[in-house]
Point group: C2
Chain length 332, copies 2
């Protein structure tokens, strides 16, 4: 008789979270009601946005309540079904949370094909992070060939795809990442034209050297000092896609941005977006990303933690920037 | 024999400018060469952007050099012409600067009709400020009926038109202005739904009360604390048009903006613009504004200084917010 494991939000963090904010509980595997399916999760995605859901503040999505299962994207197998749309043995992607088993009425599930790509890819380059990179770069920033695109958190799940897409579109792609190992990965393995190590402490000078013609598109995942520095180097009519502000999620005081004048002087467009606002673009984005991955034109790495119990530690490591590429938890 | 008067930039301000930064010089009236016209300026426009041109820093337009005539829009009469496109006695609008007489090759001149509107209107509601309001609100922010539009510097040349256009488009128009007299003018005479006096020291609370459904469009002329406060009240998918940052032009330290997270959380679009980037929209904007002014649906006031010698004092007064509506200098 299998047992379910779930990780609940036990307390709200003040500043940077700790493992004590999470609680692992065990219990019976639930039974599907009429119209429901039971999914056995194989992979759990860990993403920066989850930090925001731990706070009880207004954001674009409701927060996780205390005692509730942590929110998260998963890929898993249908193991029982009372819903005619899903058969046992099919694989599905959905927001089923930090748990081994979950019920769903199917409305938030998308079938995925394990023969087309490794299952885990549907949480990364062929899932929310990949589509986020595609939408943020191609639909929102709309870079033109020859322009310079700077991507922060360039070694991460979203940034690594955004920068490679920029190169494929004929742009100069400059990454920003933390530490020489990540910068090496971004520049050598992913093929960015340059990568700046923000931990080296010379961000403005190094970014200026890496983007000698100025910045046309800033694909921003980090915020704070990184964004403020990029503002100083933006070209006229540049675009700043605000995809994430990971430096700010656990900050006790918001970073004071000083270079907003650049928005007027350079007639910039700064735009925040959430990929779920643009669901109509997912099919096109996934089709293109699938082809590029299959052709080896987008390279992709994963950092994998094993077992649900290790999810909190892996999540904290990701927030500290310890992962290379997509952070996942293997549950099976 | 007439004498020309010109006001030159004598020195660069550090912080807020003074009259000593300007110098009035007299000299002969120039003679038009082949292809040129000589214009006798009747009106000089004073606008916040001129403060930026006094600094030797990178901006969207080149700065005024020391010893050069101060830049500025004018309306005047052609008094001599060696250009077949212009006849003596015609009236023209152009960037002819702080001077009584100016030469032009005609490329930067636009003929205006003194029978259609008072000449001075071509520097205000039927000129650059009016078109700025039209483009910034209708082309960039694109408010929908029922939305709340907040306009800072609402008693000024641009803001007063932007707010009235918002009302005409079916929006709730909320002004921000300095002092009870201006707020009274904005709410009673211009017909905004509400006006907040930022000098009262309760900006966030007062703005919350005046925009109880939140802000959908922020038409920003001021920047600094005003923009930072508005960011806290923006609704999802709101738009922030950055038309000016008058609070920052003479600031020795840039204001530290703390609420940029709202751009991500609320998926805002923040866009800077300069009206001269969108010259193709001027004919449509001027036609619509002309009809609205003629029909009395846009109300319009001017603050007039008399004589070129008084231009510096009037300019400093405008930067301090002492004018109501469009600040002009009558030269004839």
């Amino acid at each position: 008789m299998p047992t379910n494991q779930r990780i609940l939000l036990a307390s709200r963090p003040s500043g940077f979270p700790t493992e004590a904010n999470f609680e692992l509980v065990e219990g019976p595997v639930p039974e599907p009601g009429e119209g429901e399916v039971l999914v056995r999760n194989h992979w759990l995605s860990l993403d920066p946005y989850m930090r925001g859901r731990m706070d009880a503040v207004k954001s674009y999505a409701r927060c996780v309540e205390l005692g509730e299962v942590m929110t998260g994207g998963t890929v898993g197998e249908v193991v029982a079904s009372r819903n005619p749309r899903f058969a046992v043995g099919e694989f599905v992607n959905g927001p089923l949370g930090w748990q081994l088993y979950a019920l769903s009425d199917g409305a938030n599930l998308r079938k995925v094909d394990p023969a087309r790509a490794p299952l885990s890819y549907y949480l990364g380059v062929l899932g929310m992070p990949g589509v986020t990179a595609w939408v943020g770069l191609l639909d929102i920033a709309q870079p033109k060939p020859g322009e310079t695109v700077v991507v922060s958190a360039a070694a991460g799940a979203v940034g690594s795809v955004a920068g490679q897409l920029a190169r494929i579109k004929g742009c100069r792609a400059v990454g920003i990442a933390g530490g020489p190992a990540k910068c090496d990965y971004v520049a050598r393995e992913l093929g960015f034209d340059a990568c700046v190590d923000y931990k080296a402490g010379r961000l403005l000078d190094d970014l200026k050297a890496a983007a000698p013609a100025g910045i046309d598109v800033q694909f921003e995942n980090v915020g704070g000092e990184v964004l403020d520095t990029a503002l100083q180097l933006m070209n006229p009519f540049g675009r700043i896609t605000i995809c994430g502000l990971i430096s700010q999620y656990s900050a006790t005081e918001p970073y004071p941005t000083r270079n907003l004048r650049s928005v007027l002087v350079n007639r910039l467009r700064m735009q925040g977006f959430i990929v779920s606002d643009r669901m109509q673009l997912w099919p096109q984005a996934l089709a293109e990303l699938g082809e590029l991955v299959a052709a080896g034109r987008i390279k992709y790495r994963e950092t994998v933690a094993h077992g649900l119990a290790n999810a909190p530690r892996a999540f904290l490591g990701m927030l500290r920037g310890e992962n290379l590429g997509k952070q996942l938890v293997k549950l099976v």
